[in-house]
Symmetry: D2
Subunit: 316 residues, 4 copies
Amino acid sequence: MCTAASFRKGGLYFGRTLDNHMSYGEEAVIAPRAFDFGFKGRYAIVGMALVQGGYPLFYDAMNEAGLCMAGLNFVGNAQYFKSVGARDEVAQYEFIPFILSRCQSVEEAVEVIRKIRLTDRQFCENLPCAQLHWMISDAERDIVVECTKSGMQIFENAFGVLTNNPPFGEQLLNVSDYMHLSASQPENNFFKGVDMQRYSLGMGAIGLPGDLSSRSRFVRAAFVRNNCICGDGNTDGVNALFNILGSVRQVRGCNVIKDGCETTLYTSCCDASAGIYYYTLYENHAITGVGMRSRDLNSSELYRFPLEREERITLV
Amino acid sequence: MCTAASFRKGGLYFGRTLDNHMSYGEEAVIAPRAFDFGFKGRYAIVGMALVQGGYPLFYDAMNEAGLCMAGLNFVGNAQYFKSVGARDEVAQYEFIPFILSRCQSVEEAVEVIRKIRLTDRQFCENLPCAQLHWMISDAERDIVVECTKSGMQIFENAFGVLTNNPPFGEQLLNVSDYMHLSASQPENNFFKGVDMQRYSLGMGAIGLPGDLSSRSRFVRAAFVRNNCICGDGNTDGVNALFNILGSVRQVRGCNVIKDGCETTLYTSCCDASAGIYYYTLYENHAITGVGMRSRDLNSSELYRFPLEREERITLV
Amino acid sequence: MCTAASFRKGGLYFGRTLDNHMSYGEEAVIAPRAFDFGFKGRYAIVGMALVQGGYPLFYDAMNEAGLCMAGLNFVGNAQYFKSVGARDEVAQYEFIPFILSRCQSVEEAVEVIRKIRLTDRQFCENLPCAQLHWMISDAERDIVVECTKSGMQIFENAFGVLTNNPPFGEQLLNVSDYMHLSASQPENNFFKGVDMQRYSLGMGAIGLPGDLSSRSRFVRAAFVRNNCICGDGNTDGVNALFNILGSVRQVRGCNVIKDGCETTLYTSCCDASAGIYYYTLYENHAITGVGMRSRDLNSSELYRFPLEREERITLV
Amino acid sequence: MCTAASFRKGGLYFGRTLDNHMSYGEEAVIAPRAFDFGFKGRYAIVGMALVQGGYPLFYDAMNEAGLCMAGLNFVGNAQYFKSVGARDEVAQYEFIPFILSRCQSVEEAVEVIRKIRLTDRQFCENLPCAQLHWMISDAERDIVVECTKSGMQIFENAFGVLTNNPPFGEQLLNVSDYMHLSASQPENNFFKGVDMQRYSLGMGAIGLPGDLSSRSRFVRAAFVRNNCICGDGNTDGVNALFNILGSVRQVRGCNVIKDGCETTLYTSCCDASAGIYYYTLYENHAITGVGMRSRDLNSSELYRFPLEREERITLV
């Protein structure tokens, strides 16, 4: 499963964890303006993608205009339209480049989304359609897009985070149970006048869930994201977003499934102002950045950056 | 507040978070064999210390033999003996170098500890005696040492973690409330025969606390530490320990106190086999290592390594 | 708010708590076969009702055939059809007598419900339409009926309980988070091989919520109901149901609202085999029973039984 | 296990649940002033006792002066002095009558307790010494008495409740984790400015534990007791205490042990002003009262009142 979050300090910082039991070979990729997605776009895109036959299947990405988008697992609830070859159809696997290659803002994205039908057309026979929902963010606004048996829905996302099941509306209800949690020490509402011990700092958030289920990660990521503060330095926003997403990082062995262990394979952070896509890996805590602006973005060829899988330690 | 944890894979990996609202200027330090602590030692020590007037006040450290030790806040419960100038007295601030400079193992440490009295003699007038308890680990064993109004006590620590209040015995009782938590999906004990939805991975640990109080961090660190697995590569153990301690990292803004925000200022990892002390900082996710073996350990002068406080990003 | 539960031992025992800040004057009522509800019925009904202008507005009731039905608050989610005077319309306030006066079983009730449209026609101008959903039970089966913006839905209810918000589907998801809870002592999944203390009996259900919110009452009532056992004596099933519902009883002062305190005003238990409607009041722990079979059920006049509001204590 | 609680409204109401898998044959008993306990007393006592060879082994009781006392399981922590036949010894089984037969107030009881040594002398060979701790209350004050390996300790009990393990000091620490819980709707501390849904009443106490372990019952009983309100009627205080203790009632089947099911066999309520001992049974929700004042209290013979084990239902 996965977690996405936005953070705003000066500009937008947007990222996600990708949690899985194994990597399928994703890499950092820049798709320049003239890259042929099967449709024409205007904006270059940088993000993490599995490149299949030269085509980048983006997991999460950002465009030149600073619009960011991530797809997260939504298994059992995602339900796309059947493809009938109509003109308004967009296949699920095209959704991220379709939006990012033509929209500058969430507002533009909403307008586009209202006109399309997301279909279950497969990228190829061997690749079943991923069951996903999406978070889309710009400098001002976060939305969530879900395609379920009730059709396609767009939600404003005041919490600025997204995980997986249940549907977003139910996540919003569930997080309400935690509204009393605070980053400050708690009031004594239990028994006024009786001395109750504040034996530790941080007691105001007692009740915050610490497990790795998608409901719990939603609440924890929202709490940390909403309380997180940082300075004004160049990399402070990047640092903050990695710290926020670090709070829902899946440590290998703590989420055992039949094929192995669900683990946070990578964590990303798009710096929308600088046009840089940063990432860390489970095996490498150091941050690597891929900048768009230093490349020729009018090209039609992908730029591909294999991930650095070794812990990059500096010995002094 | 703080969290310490051990992890064993091949050898011992031992580390801690240091959580505070501001740094007092700690740095990585090697105290070689001939360094004068006010007493004579046999073993060189590497760790994180505040150097005051040339004297390293260690927060956590490891010696040449691979014995590791960390002091963690224990405010309100720590109670030392009054210093009367007796021969068996060791001041609280000397405790880490006293043990690490003369013991090769937990067994030797226990023997030494049973013969001494830990006193509240201050390092200097302006530095009040820190209220601490300690975790000590070697390749086989973890113990906790507490000095309270009941005297000095040594506990075996099967959980391999330590945080702060309440006393260790009460932490052991409290963690019992979580014994059902599992890294695997839960059984349906609630209502056998009725279909209950496993709508997310990771539901076996629902109930694990996610807040930053010391009881909750104890449970969470213990759970993650006990379930964490890693490969056999050179840096896999280091990676694992940083991932374990990452699960209790305090993000700035999530634990507000009157002087600012309790934050995980640094996280350390002693690689006991290699004699290397690693650390990351809140502002710098990349790992820095300080090796003992490449230095002349017969010296009497401290080796001091100021911390690298900038996010060390590699742009590709 | 309120809680309903069924229990089967020999026959069906079905009841509910009614939680409110004040009583509107409800009383136990028998509506015999010939009572004119504005429509014709076949079966006599006994239950708790507010009698308005000679018309019993039932909160919960049972008919001669042992079919039981209770309406519970569903504020913010209930949405009825607009009345247009069509033949298939049943006003919300008629729903309980409409079903109970003509159905012998849940199966029959389902058939009837599929043919009607539940409307918001008011009983009178001063009585706004209550926002409710319903639980209906017979000797074999429990269902829930909800009328929301998605239309009318019928759910099988394997848990045998109902409270209030959120909609039933979301309650089913939420209760999944508690599937590990057990009436027996917990296994140690946390850290196999390490001694964890079973310092108390009853630790297998640690995590069960104890508050009075509708999600928590659903989980708690389901847990207690599913684990509850009783003997074969005459009143053992009655005793069991009162004990189950006692676990979600709202004590005055523990749920403060602007108008006073939400309190469990009464608790009921229909003994379907005996045709007796039992109740206790907040102010009176002793059980009172109203039997149908000792009355002339062919009458057209209501039998009304004012509630006994004094604690009925026996002094020995 | 068991729960005790006090409640003050006008006078003192004091009671307890007795939780066990089977009854040993306890009954309501009045021990008048001249009854020979093996020592001389001044005050008559009424309470629940197992009468063995004519001697009442009290579980909980009250004396003429309104002083109340209950013994609750404290297995694994209770540790009495070895009996050596000294004059200041009181056997554990004599403790309740020893205090109640000679003290009018908690203050007097404290004075007496400080002068005695509680020993493990058995009542008879077949009856091993019960491992207990005690709550003692008068119209103004509640205390807890514990005899552990640290000796005998007396605690002020501002919470007015007692359950079982862990020791009282640890219960006080543990309850601190719940200080934010409120009988009113919660504030939104989580994310100010964002609309969070109050979808149910009673959300201010979300986090209150609902299981039957002794730590959870302590917190729940304390919360309910501290928030409970009642009117000024004659039986309102009695009603309130039964409602408070009802919140920790153990329903048969929800706490399975190897010998059966831990169940709340009886619940008691001493009305200190009226000198009446009330009780309900698991099998009988109706309240039975045993008054002292209508008997000749100068007698030396026990008055014994077998429990009424049938549900006392009134059919109307």
